[in-house]
């Protein structure tokens, strides 16, 4: 997509993510052809939607489309995707003949779509199952506004099981991690902006609290954490190596938690009220960090891998 088209899409998505969330945002995305954009230029479409949705505290079922697209299956509003459970990149299904056992999470699309894609353990195959054969529960939990769905059960397939090449599931995980990484960056930036605005306005001891270094340095560290994540996400789009995307997701997850901690502290009592928007983002980043591998477990896994092979991931050339 050229610059003008990308700017146009960005403007439309900004308005959509500021004004709507959930089913309403999905409807807008449908109307503006976001899925076509994903097919034409995945990087631009993913970066724009997920950063803006993170920034706006909005949620959509765009992740279903991202995963389906990366699996090589045409995304569709009527097709949900079952995602791995918390802190996991293990495929959520076990395919046995034409029966599929499912345990995982999903976006709210699962509650309205007729069928869902389930990738099987070992990731050699993807099955399409009827949603009404599954036990699906809308999650309240830490972030009810996110509209996550917990899904489990065993059901039959609605079409023949499709074999997957060995690279497909890792490609889907990589793409999902990039999308979630951008959403974390967007949500973190939203928190940083809220905290900076408060720090400039809030006067104590006769001066704005932004003049106190204890406050400034928390906010500067938040920015450094966000920029680290952004730099690694950009690097991960440019190389296909799954390890780079895993690092980017981990660093973005950590940035989200750093932003939540520092911005909550700077916003202090104001940020602890239900009235102030901060809590929506704090809740969101904790959940986003856990999807497709948390900062904690991705970092430990990277360390184990590096120690086992005594080799660093090859860095991108200049």
């Amino acid at each position: 997509m050229d610059r003008a088209e990308a700017d146009l899409l960005a403007g439309t998505l900004r308005r959509a993510t500021e004004a709507s969330t959930g089913a309403a945002l999905d409807e807008t995305l449908e109307g503006l052809g976001w899925r076509d954009a994903l097919g034409a230029d995945a990087r631009t479409a993913v970066v724009l939607l997920f950063e803006l949705q993170g920034r706006g505290g909005a949620t959509s079922s765009g992740l279903d489309d991202v995963v389906a697209n990366a699996l090589g299956i045409a995304p569709d509003a009527g097709l949900a995707v079952v995602l791995p459970g918390l802190d996991s990149d293990v495929p959520p299904g076990t395919v046995a003949g034409d029966a599929v056992a499912v345990a995982g999470l999903a976006t709210s699309r699962l509650l309205v779509a007729g069928s869902a894609l389930v990738v099987g353990v070992g990731a050699e195959a993807v099955a399409t199952v009827a949603v009404d054969g599954l036990d699906a529960r809308r999650v309240g939990g830490l972030d009810p506004a996110m509209g996550l769905v917990e899904v489990a059960g065993t059901t039959g397939t609605v079409s023949p099981v499709v074999p997957l090449g060995p690279e497909r599931w890792p490609a889907a995980v990589r793409r999902a991690r990039l999308a979630l990484g951008h959403e974390l960056v967007g949500a973190s930036e939203a928190m940083l902006e809220l905290a900076c605005a408060h720090a400039r306005e809030r006067v104590q001891f006769g001066r704005p609290i932004a003049t106190f270094q204890a406050v400034r340095h928390r906010l500067a560290d938040t920015m450094v954490a966000i920029e680290s994540a952004r730099a690694l996400l950009e690097a991960a789009w440019e190389d296909d190596h799954p390890a780079t995307a895993a690092m980017a997701k981990a660093v973005a997850g950590r940035a989200g938690l750093v932003a939540a901690r520092h911005c909550q502290q700077v916003l202090a009592g104001m940020g602890f009220t239900a009235e102030h928007p901060l809590h929506r983002f704090v809740r969101r980043v904790y959940v986003l960090d856990e999807l497709f591998g948390s900062a904690r477990s991705l970092t430990a896994a990277l360390g184990r891998d590096v120690l086992a092979h005594r080799r660093l991931p090859a860095p991108a050339p200049l």
């Binding site: 003049t211 500067a220 920029e227 680290s228 730099a231 590096v306 660093l312 200049l318």
Partner: protein, 375 residues
């Protein structure tokens, strides 16, 4: 010349010349490191590589700044030069190119590129560390030139330097940023005394420099009289861009070295993983900065993010060294042990030199987050 072509040619040359380029000794002494940098720069200059990415009017061959970035990456990544010493060129040559009279730049910059000379940077003073704009070293107009009186400190490599890019107070004592002038001073001028400072890492690379009524010709003024603050503000982003990319290659190499040496079971995987991520994030950030510079963008306060990241990455890498090969670092006798020890100790200064971590955070807060001044 394009980067790919340059990279292929340089890599081939570095392989072919490996024996000639290798350091003769590895005792780790500063004298040896200086001699090694001078030798490598000379060989790389004569082979043409050191001239790419610099303007023709100062003896360069033109081309993208990415070529310079890759040259330093390759030299530090192959452990041929100490990055801090080598990369002084990246900080000081752009300042000369932008602010010296064209004939002065044309005469001087090639000497720096060729390794004939070392230059130093006279910024900090005993009473002026973080608060650079309060510097007191005086420059007074006299006989069409300047007389300089005062003291600098933490001046890297001054005992080796033939020239100094000096910030001095040319206005009244309270003239702040407006009353500073940048001068290009010959270090053999009468009245200059250099005293190296013994440091905890064992290499006396920082110095005190005393100026006692030192004469500096008028044509050695860099930029405008009273314009020294902008010279400094334009210099610092260079200190935080290409030089840091070279540092990334060095840190990558040393992290690889320690991973090869650490016994099984000593390091927590999470600590290793986080260090690898920090270095990768710094490298990704710095890579983007190199491309912005090459695209002609003017670098500014956003390079403070790069500077914070390099400091955190360097300390994380050497924290891992201290923990992973503690017997070597704490008790070892050989030259490898001495080098690890010196590098570990030097990494403690990564959050101090070139603007402390706190100053970088203040720059980020004021210039990037719009949080106003910190008073």
């Amino acid at each position: 010349m394009e980067l790919d072509e340059f990279r292929a040619g340089l890599d081939r040359w570095l392989d072919e010349q490996a024996a000639a380029l290798a350091p003769p000794h590895r005792s780790g002494s500063l004298d040896e490191q200086m001699a090694q940098v001078a030798k490598v720069k000379r060989l790389a200059y004569d082979a043409g590589f050191m001239r790419h990415g610099w303007p023709r009017r100062v003896g360069g061959l033109g081309g993208s700044t990415l070529l310079r970035a890759y040259l330093g990456e390759a030299l530090t990544g192959r452990d041929l030069v100490e990055p801090g010493i080598y990369s002084m060129t990246e900080t000081l040559a752009p300042t000369m190119i932008d602010y010296a009279a064209p004939e002065l730049a044309a005469a001087m910059v090639p000497r720096l590129l060729r390794g004939d000379e070392t230059w130093c940077q006279g910024f900090s003073e005993p009473g002026t560390g973080s608060n650079l704009a309060a510097l007191a070293c005086r420059a007074v107009r006299s006989d069409g030139g300047w007389r300089v009186q005062g003291q600098k400190v933490w001046t890297s490599l001054a005992q080796y330097a033939q020239r100094c890019v000096l910030l001095a107070r040319s206005g009244p004592p309270d003239s702040g940023r407006q009353g500073i002038t940048a001068l290009f001073v010959d270090m053999d001028s009468p009245g200059i005394e250099v005293r190296p400072i013994e440091t905890m890492h064992g290499a006396p690379e920082f110095c005190e420099v005393f100026f006692d009524d030192v004469a500096v010709p008028a044509d050695r003024t860099l930029g405008e009289e009273g314009g020294g603050w902008s010279v400094a503000m334009d210099l610092l982003p260079f200190e935080r861009s290409t030089a840091l990319w070279h540092k990334a290659a060095y840190l990558h190499r040393r992290l690889g070295d320690v991973l090869g040496a650490v016994p099984d079971g000593v390091l927590e995987p999470a600590v290793v993983g986080e260090t690898v991520q920090l270095l990768a994030a710094f490298r990704a950030r710095s890579r983007a900065t190199q491309h912005r510079l090459a695209d002609g963008e003017r670098l500014g306060p956003e390079t403070s993010v790069d500077k914070v990241l390099v400091a955190l990455a360097e300390q994380a890498v050497f924290d891992l060294v201290a923990a992973g090969i503690a017997p070597e670092v704490l008790l070892g006798e050989g030259s490898d042990a001495a080098r690890w020890r010196s590098e570990f100790l030097f990494s403690r200064a990564a959050t101090i030199y070139g603007g402390t971590l706190e100053i970088q955070r203040n720059i980020i807060a004021r210039r990037l987050l719009g949080l106003g001044d910190d008073t």
